[in-house]
Amino acid sequence: MLAKELKKIAVYAIFLAILLVPMLGFPTPQFQPNRPLIVLGILVGLLVLNLVVKFVRKDKEGAAAGPGLVELVSRRLGRYPKWLTLGGLVLLAALFPLAANNYMIDVGITCLIYVCLGMGLNIVVGLCGLLDLGFIAFYAVGAYTYSLLNLTFGLNFWACLPIGIALGMTVGCIIGYPTLKMRGDYLAIVTMGFGEIIRIVLNNWTELTSGPNGLFGQAPPPGINVSLGGDDGFGIALGQLTTLPSMYYLILFLAIITIVGVSRLNDSRIGRAWIAIREDETAAELSGVPTTWIKLLAYALGAAFASVAGGFFAAKLSYTNPNFFLFMESCIVLCIVVLGGVGSIPGIIVAAIVLIAVPEVFRELENYRMLAFGAIMTIMMIIKPEGLIPAARRRRELHEAELSAQEED
């Protein structure tokens, strides 16, 4: 059994090594044979470690093989009740700026933006099972809505928010409508196409968006301005949010609303309808779920959350341009949802922190970030498709599928 598994990993490693050959950089001056070797070492090392843990633990479980490393990590993370995980995270997040410098707060803000995006995409991919590869388009809609309304009409952030949400939902429905008939992979390509169309429009409709130059000068949102030292000293005042901590608290507030909203939706009638569609669309339709509307609603709500995040993003930077909304951004958000656990709220929060903050901490690894994201996506699908902190429902389904798949093999 162990020998067989090891042989499997060895064969796997050979193919993996071939995949890493393009990284050699041959024959350019950057020829660096150690780079792919390191990546290969890490990946194979993970597989072997996973296996070793499996066999070390096997006696305890009394089964043929125990849980692997990934499984163990996941169990540890999943051990705490959901409210405890969430409550702990919120408390930590609220206290975080007190202990952090500006750079760390900035990273925190980015993390929270991705939490919002991940939550939105979670509705579409995780709950409804529709693979959306153009999700970042809704983020762009939010950013540009706020920028244009603020710059042209001087509307403030809070006034723009409902307009942004409405526009995001509208675009979501426009994109969602033609894809309703499609399933699975076709949908992925079409949403990817839509995402690119929106970016091309932003790039080329120069009269409105000033094209690749972008828009700048957006006013920061008004609200409770918090300063925690530095030049501004300590203080809380009403007015425009000029300090980083106050921006941080604003996005934290938005993220909490998003999280609460999504988890309420998850437990609602609509949430169950989404899951029914994900499991078996035909069966859902036959049991009276109005699949067309429910699917459109998934797109619209997902888009609404992304649009809010987009509005905040533009307000925080006072700048936006089409190149913030590349396909790769959609992939990052997707990776967060996948790593955390499709349909799992705490999972997505943890994954957003891991995937966004960790690369920031190890700046020298910046170039390897997307490489790692790609590898994580594939590896997670192979060893633990339900993600690190799987939603309870999802976990059951996938393992049942696995069982029957083994039968067929």
Partner: protein, 239 residues
Amino acid sequence: MAEPILEMRDVHTYYGNIHALKGISCTVAQGDIVCLIGANGAGKSTTLMTIFAQPRARKGQIFFKGEPIHKLTTEQIAARGVAQSPEGRQIFPRMTVMENLEMGAYMRNDKEGILKDLDYVFDLFPVLKDRRNQTGGTLSGGEQQMLAIARAMMSKPDLLLLDEPSLGLAPKLVERIFETIIAINKEGTTIFLVEQNAHIALTNSHTGYVMETGQIVLEDQAQKLLTNEEVRKAYLGED
């Protein structure tokens, strides 16, 4: 009784958590026609598919020509000399009749032998010869049935598994098919067939098995089963 070519010992098969075969044991003697009858959902087709490891038996053993095959892959089992005309015929719809037959002979490399067998199956089913360049999807149900049997024959199997050869065919055609099955058997191919049409199956077989809800409940010479009181009541529609 001749040597068994196929022997199943206490075979259990599951679909997910559904226990489909609950300990099947049966033997198929070399050179015989053996039939397996039973109601819809009794597990007849599952028995045939389990021989091909689709799905694989979770428990029990299957021997073919005295060697265990329950751990082999489907391809390896086919290579040992088993062929099947499966449930639903499974014709390749976008390949011509000719190509379907060529796929039947996929494992063979003797060109002359293949051509000879092609003539042989065209003799058995002349209609296939007329339709040789038509795609499988355009054939009628009866023609597809013939093609499925012919395709299985093309691998020159020692054991031919037939799943409901009479299904959906006109009575006249059913007789034709069974005549052909007997002809194939006379050429030396052992046949294990599954039928709902118990009467015609038993009339044309040497041995019969009766299946109910995943288990074999009766086994005997086919002639004796035809006169068996229970079988007559349950499967032959007589009082």
